[in-house]
Amino acid sequence: MRAYIIRRLAQSVLVVWAVTTIMFFMFRVMPADPTAILLERGLTDEARQALLEQWGLTGSLWDQYVAYLANLLTGDFGSSFLYRKPVWEVLTPLIINTLWIAVPGLLLGAALGAAIGTAVGWAKRGGKLERSGIFLATIIRGVPNFVIGIALLTIFSSTLGWFPGFGMGDPGETTGFARYMTLDFLHHLALPLIAVIIYFMPENLLLMRSGVVENRTEDYIELVRAKGVPQRRVAWHAARNSMLPLITWLFPALAETIAGIVVIEIVFSWPGVGRELVLAVTRQDYPVAQAAFFLLAVMIVIANLAADLVYGKLDPRVVYK
């Protein structure tokens, strides 16, 4: 077990290194000169050279690469071209904002999907509930997340005026965690959160349904039924065993969802990592874009690692080698 964890960790580090390297060369091979955005502010040649040195953009590509990796190891992402302050200072508050819509959205979407999925999977094969459940879930799954966002925005914000459709609200006097505990914040949180839930639910529903359908004909279900256990409890037996693939799928999905809510953040002008990534790319603020991408990739690697380990805990048949 320990050997397996160590090997898996080493593998993850290797993957992170590879992704970082790909990213580094992608950004450096581009023709654009990052100081070009500063030219309009009337930068002299000397000042420009000094900036290039400060940003680690001088020397051979190999030297730059080594310097970049060394900086990463010490947690230094460099400084933003645009904000003129360290990248981590720009990104830290944004990570929290992203997690605010990603984590509750994901958990609620999974719970809702699992509950409805069990009902659909347990329903009569070929019956009305099963057919309409599958059909609706497949259709909703086909709705691009920005269309979900646009629909929610148009209906509940612009037309009905129930929810604000822009940003996170006025932070006011409060700072720190209290900032997130205001009604105003929750009011702003509602629509993007609902969008993430709708975006994430159908996949869970279909996965859970497949699991329940697979399990319902197993012998152990017959046994439970023969014991005279009520239907609802029997369904619960099947549901519990169907959760295994769902849970292992959840972790990588968490990462992909965080990546996918880029678009939802844009629609609702929610100041998160994804929105900053898009803005940074269009403003050619490469240190920020690079770091945002790096963070998202690391999240996926950690999530995959966690999924492998949790799977072993949940399924006693898995043997670590």
């Binding site: 992608m26 094969r125 086909g142 646009i150 965080i258 990546a259 880029v262 678009v263 844009i266 898009v278």
Partner: protein
């Protein structure tokens, strides 16, 4: 050799991938949801092919009123069936041209992803060894690349053109397919009939083409259908984020223009058509994909 093959017992002769594909297609057509999906897809293809003849105006042309002013945000009328945009473009013409981009992206992705995934998956699964090792290490890395952020960065760096978008989509989505097809090949390889065929002196090429491929063709179809859906969604998302090809009109771009010019609420005629078309296209693909999924997983079939 030809003679020897036809005289060989069926177990060794195998069957062609085409006949397996046809059989699997006929099974999928038993599923009424999949039939709905195929019908939608066919209608979309017809519209895409005839779009230049159906479109009443040039999609990029700004319409003028009789008084010489820009015909901004006109609601649907006899002249402009779906109204006009904030920049005076005819919405119906833009919408019809959007079919071409969506289906072009889907088609190219299907061919590219289907071919690459199948090639790598079969080689890796069948021969194993270092080919398999190298391929699996590459997919390990590729699978931890966040898809949408990667496409945003890559398209922004390479330049927003339809070719680059298709390139990025292909680079992104071959990996999952290769993995899934590889594991399907791994199970087939160990089957008794493959061993018999090999014992009877069949070549590797023969075994792959007539034994392995026919048995994994459903997995390939499932994956191709899903890839087309992902490709259409990725192109739409990129265009919505403002990274679409400025020289063509796509649905994501129409929504981006409506959104960024602040006309979501008022100009419903501008927003609804591209949204509905996207949902219909992607859902149709998922409906077909689901039917292949039920086929590839026999435990899901009705008992």
């Amino acid at each position: 050799m030809k003679q020897a093959q036809t005289n060989a017992p069926a177990a060794i002769r195998g069957r062609s991938a085409w006949s397996a594909a046809w059989e699997s297609w006929r099974q999928v057509m038993q599923d009424s949801f999949a039939v709905v999906g195929v019908a939608i897809l066919l209608i979309f293809v017809v519209i895409a092919l005839t779009a230049p003849y159906l479109a009443p105006f040039d999609p990029f042309k700004a319409m003028m009123t009789e008084t010489g002013r820009l015909a901004r945000l006109r609601p649907p009328s006899g002249e402009h069936l779906l109204g006009t945009t904030a920049f005076g473009n005819d919405v119906l013409s833009q919408f019809l041209h959007g079919f071409r981009v969506a289906l072009l992206v889907g088609l190219v992705a299907a061919i590219a992803v289907g071919f690459i995934s199948t090639l790598f998956g079969v080689l890796s699964g069948y021969f194993g060894g270092w080919v398999d090792d190298v391929l699996m290490r590459i997919t390990d890395v590729a699978l931890s690349i966040p898809t949408l952020p990667f496409s945003i960065v890559a398209v922004a760096l390479l330049g927003p053109s339809i070719e680059n978008i298709i390139l990025v989509i292909t680079v992104l989505f071959w990996r999952n397919g290769a993995r899934i097809i590889r594991s399907a090949v791994l199970t087939e390889r160990e089957r008794v009939y493959v061993k018999w065929a090999r014992a009877a002196g069949a070549s590797h090429f023969h075994i792959i083409m007539r034994h392995i491929l026919p048995n994994i063709i459903r997995v390939v179809f499932l994956w191709v259908t899903m890839s087309v859906a992902f490709a259409v969604l990725t192109e739409a998302s990129l265009s919505f984020l403002g990274l679409g090809d400025p020289t063509v009109i796509s649905w994501g771009q129409m929504l981006n223009t409506a959104f960024s010019s602040g006309n979501l609420r008022t100009a419903w005629w501008w927003v609804v058509p591209p949204s509905v078309a996207l949902v219909m296209l992607v859902s149709a693909l998922y409906l077909i994909g689901r039917a292949y999924e039920e086929q590839t997983n026999p435990r899901l079939r009705r008992r």
